[in-house]
Symmetry: C2
Subunit: 424 residues, 2 copies
């Protein structure tokens, strides 16, 4: 019997009526001849309400206790979904992350799954039950403490369980119809993507696309697991995120460009007047990494011959910006730079598509589209299947629309144009 893992987010479980609707959908999947294992998030606003309570008793609650508190949210929703299924005459068993064998490291609030030992799940499925598992949570291997996985944790739980159970598909239910070629709130003509490779989805998620979190996509890629992202409010097909087939062999049916992602969460630091000697850049980035800050893009200018000095710019999460600036200022003498510039009004646009590999003109078209729209490019970085540019934050929406149109992604134009560029 096929095994389907489904994940329902908080917006699909907002209230009792939503829970009953989700239960109906789960039972339908079971009746269609599948074993069903369901991962649930906390209901609607539960997590926010719990965080408010925590804030009311302590401005800086210990992370261990915060994890204990927040995990109550999924506990409630999983029990309620199980009850709603029982009310439809089917049989469901709910399990916490710990009971489901979701083993994590010790990092409260942002734990990583290091193993899944789903013995109780396998047994419950074999006994004919539908299984409901609390997402977002696990138990730490060494300390046996309750942990949470951080943002997107329920998706990761679903994919990890699907991999451990050798499921046929992992369905991620959300409040949108699937993955779009761009954020429909910015580009109203954005189209739903029917298929996207796991590799492309990984770049999209890393570039700011919010529907699937990066960790979940990485996990699915590692285990060669197909993900079906779809809406819990309709029965339409969503977007299939399919695993790579043969190494290096692209899906010839796929359009060149999968989509345009954008990200407003980063800031830019420019270190001005760095001595252009071996080890200067290394010293800067060692310092930053000691602050536990993840750097995204780095650009180093050619040094001026007259001074033997250069400028180094990099982007990092806004939340870490002030900390990084402070650390650099404190080490100014040792690092020997002239000054710092900090800009948190930037935006990043990323164009993702595995077709880029064989179509070298993509970057040129991108730059031309931005130039035609009068948008200045501040930084550029590329991977094999992605081109990212940093622009003024105020112009980011315009940039996304311009690029979306330039690559023929707008739905009014029908299918995406197969692009034949002429050199980069």
């Amino acid at each position: 019997m096929p095994l389907v893992v489904q994940k329902y987010g908080g917006s699909s479980l907002a209230d009792a009526e939503s829970i009953k609707r989700v239960a109906r959908r789960i039972v339908d999947t079971r009746k269609a001849g599948n074993q069903v294992c369901v991962v649930v998030s906390a209901m609607g606003d539960t997590t926010d309400e719990l965080l408010e309570l925590a804030d009311a008793v302590s401005p800086a609650p210990p992370q261990r206790e915060l994890d204990m508190l927040l995990t109550a949210g999924e506990r409630m929703s999983m029990a309620l979904v199980s009850m709603a299924i029982a009310n439809l005459g089917d049989s469901a068993r709910s399990f916490t992350g710990s009971q489901a064998g979701v083993i994590t490291d010790d990092a409260h609030g942002k734990a990583r799954i290091i193993d899944v030992t789903p013995g109780r799940i396998t047994q419950a499925l074999a006994d004919g039950h539908i299984v409901i598992v609390a997402g977002f949570q696990g138990v730490s291997q060494n300390t046996k403490e309750i942990t949470t996985l951080g943002r997107g944790g329920s998706d990761t739980t679903a994919v990890a369980l699907a991999a451990a159970l050798d499921a046929d598909v992992c369905e991620i239910y959300t409040d949108v119809d699937g993955i779009f070629t761009a954020d429909p709130r910015i580009v109203p003509s954005a189209r739903k993507v029917d298929r996207i490779s796991n590799e492309e989805m990984q770049e999209m998620a890393a570039s700011g696309a919010k529907v699937l979190m990066l960790r979940c996509v990485e996990y699915a890629r590692r285990f060669n697991l197909p993900i079906h992202v779809r809406s819990s409010f309709s029965y339409r097909e969503g977007t299939w995120v399919y695993p790579a087939t043969v190494e290096g062999e692209d899906d010839v049916e796929a359009p060149i460009i999968a989509g345009v992602a954008h990200d407003r969460s980063e800031a830019k630091i420019t270190v001005v007047g760095v001595k252009d000697t071996p080890g200067s850049a290394a010293a800067i980035f060692t310092l930053i990494s000691e602050q536990q800050v993840n750097i995204d893009m780095i650009v180093q200018n050619v040094s001026a011959v007259a001074t033997g000095r250069t400028d180094v710019s990099f982007t990092l999460p806004k939340a870490d910006g002030q900390r990084a600036v402070q650390a650099l200022q404190d080490a100014k003498a040792g690092l020997g730079f002239e000054s710092l510039q900090y800009d948190d009004q930037i935006g990043k646009l990323s164009l993702v598509g595995s077709g880029m590999r064989s179509h070298p003109g993509v970057s040129a078209t991108l730059f031309q589209a931005l130039a035609d729209a009068g948008i200045n490019i501040e930084m550029i970085s590329t991977s094999e299947i992605r081109v990212s540019v940093v622009t003024n934050g105020d112009l980011l929406d315009d940039a996304v629309r311009a690029v979306h149109t330039a690559f023929g992604l707008d739905s009014s134009e029908g299918e995406a144009v197969v692009y034949g560029g002429t050199g980069r």
Copy 2:
């Protein structure tokens, strides 16, 4: 270092402010030089809200899932209390019933504690932490399922943990000042009792006194553990429920009467015209026990010589009344009785005191007080330290007041009169 186990009920944890107040109290206890292990109930109305949610998705939710849902309540409160303690600069660790080693049987919704293996608690206390444990919940020995203990479960958790940890005292915090000689809502002149023996408390709880549940008192008695029932809203001493000292030796300082309990939760069935032959009563009560109904009082009249028949009356929980009546009706032919009378408008008054053992006039004084108040007695039952009577339910409050006065328990009269009765 002395070890104190404290239990705070939902009314003491109604909101963030209450939680902070409780945290202050816990930290004070720790600063006074004690190790502190705290058992908490769910906050204020949380349990009712969860039950409402359950009811909204399923009119008859599976008990396993209901336990999973309800245990989220204590999980939230224990994490919040821990956070509030951390905010005061002390260190607290919260543990679920399962983590705390509260092992129960498999009876979801009304599980009994069969063992406590508090290894993690002992370790956390040894490490210098204050420990917060979720009350009302455990994990089943055979199936490793999450269970709840039913009404009064948090008190039982506290007493069981105190016994397992060999604590010096178990403090039960509530919203009243302690145990009273009668319910102050009925008898405004009722006095707080400073000391009451565990044996007396057990009879009081079994007779309808609500402050401590019977199971918790039984547990404390078995483990010879002192309980201090007190208010979380004041620092006054409450009521000490002290363990029996030497078998058969009463506390000579104690007043003869500990208090007057009452109970409105029972109904009375009279089986009229039962053949007065060996086995007739046995057949009736076998039938009732097969319905899983607990019988409280039983009275059988002397049989009428002319007919060789008698009447048998017994009391049982109102909730089970209709089921028992139906079972008896169905078996009427076999049991050979004439008719049934059912009365759910009864009240039970119980006078409890270990001093009764040595003062035989207690019953006579009780009956005289009721007679003087014009209250008819329908049934009587006694134990070594208790006399219970069933009256018309409408007259129960009057009965409680009359008896409370007759035994000199009213606070305006100062200390209880030492009663020297003259025969029963």
